[in-house]
Symmetry: C2
Subunit: 234 residues, 2 copies
């Protein structure tokens, strides 16, 4: 077979050894007489896979035990809504740094839940394209914001944050298109989310990393399924 | 290999021929040089699979072109919240028929969005267990309700609707545990949702069937990702 690599938008090419192992184990997982996709989500076989994936991700990202690793659904687009749903309260606001179309979409979905302010943008009248990230002195960050949101990489124009800003408010980063592409200092981030399909695996799973002390500030008066606290490993 | 069948809560056992075909095609789909999970969601190879699945489901359920078939994420539990998010408006209410724990959970999640009334329940003081479905004359249905919600099968007590009630308001049915188990008259339903993992396939996909004229009454002032209209095939 001649393998084709997909460099289009959407799901990434996967390593052949990973596909081969998934294929070999698809009918029966570790001698259990069942496929892993038939196993109960409460069973030991599935839990081993789940917790091993969490442990490997923590190792690769250099995360400590002060971060929850959640596997969610709905992609980054669902996070655009669930993030403000969990953390925006009346009388507070969030700061959004706009460096591309995905950052615009994230900002757009805050309006259903509360106030968001544009802390910086690198496009505007006379400059319709995002061709750079803002300089440190251009960031109008409010230390009292519920959080600061930025998109680590803008795939359309290639505007990528090489180092992340120091923020007083909790920093939340959409890393869908560049998570795990290089070692990254995660100590500045209070939350990271990333659809898995671009850099990590097939579509269907969204990685959410959330610092335990940031999670404590989340709202409880929202639907159960959308609370990050519902999905955390206790 | 000795195959084990899983009758526990959660994902179902899958037919061996289905697993074998998935396995055979996992590395390369139809001579394209790529796995189907590497293909772009906008590409022809994936679209063929997607639209074939919709066509087969419509054929099995006897659905006409007045129903949208959506593939969503988050399971029935996410539908508990997205249903009232889409259809409850100030000054309206929904009627919920309670015949088990899952119906209770669906009712519970309406409170974030508006008013829901219990149109009937078969448990209560002195009768803590749901051991039957309500009789027709016990249903206190308001013709002006935004919708009527019921759960077609209560897995814990085995209370299953054999025939569905006639309702003036749009009927919405959670069929997660018995969709496709027998021929069902879908003409009464304005919407059906079902996590795929129990009766149809592995977990990860939620089937949502929604009548086109019911969808027209959905709210547009909610986050983009949670609008049923965002996901419909135009």
């Amino acid at each position: 077979m001649r393998r084709i690599d997909n460099f289009n938008a959407g799901p990434s090419a996967l390593p052949l050894p990973a596909l081969e192992r998934a294929q070999a184990e698809l009918l029966e997982f570790e001698g259990t007489g069942m496929s892993i996709i038939e196993h109960s989500h409460r069973g030991k076989a599935y839990e081993r896979v789940h917790f091993e994936a969490i442990a490997l991700l923590k190792e690769l990202l250099g995360l400590g035990d002060d971060m929850h690793v959640l596997f969610m659904q709905g992609g980054a687009s669902q996070q655009f809504a669930t993030l403000p749903m969990n953390f925006l309260r009346p009388g507070t606001h969030a700061d959004y740094v706009i460096t591309g179309g995905w950052a615009e979409k994230a900002l757009e979905e805050t309006k259903w839940f509360g106030e968001a302010r544009v802390a910086a943008t690198t496009a505007g009248p006379g400059n319709p394209k995002y061709t750079r990230i803002p300089k440190a002195e251009e960031l109008e960050l409010d230390p009292a914001a519920a959080y600061v949101h930025l998109t680590s990489n803008n795939t359309l124009f290639g505007t990528q944050w090489q180092t992340f800003p120091e923020t007083k408010a909790p920093l939340v980063v959409d890393m869908s298109s560049d998570i795990l592409w290089r070692p990254t200092d995660m100590s500045k981030m209070s939350m990271v989310y990333a659809g898995a399909q671009k850099n990590v695996g097939p579509s269907g799973v969204t990685i959410v990393l959330i610092r335990k002390d940031f999670l404590k500030s989340a709202r409880e008066d929202i639907p159960t399924i959308f609370r990050y606290g519902t999905l955390r490993i206790r």
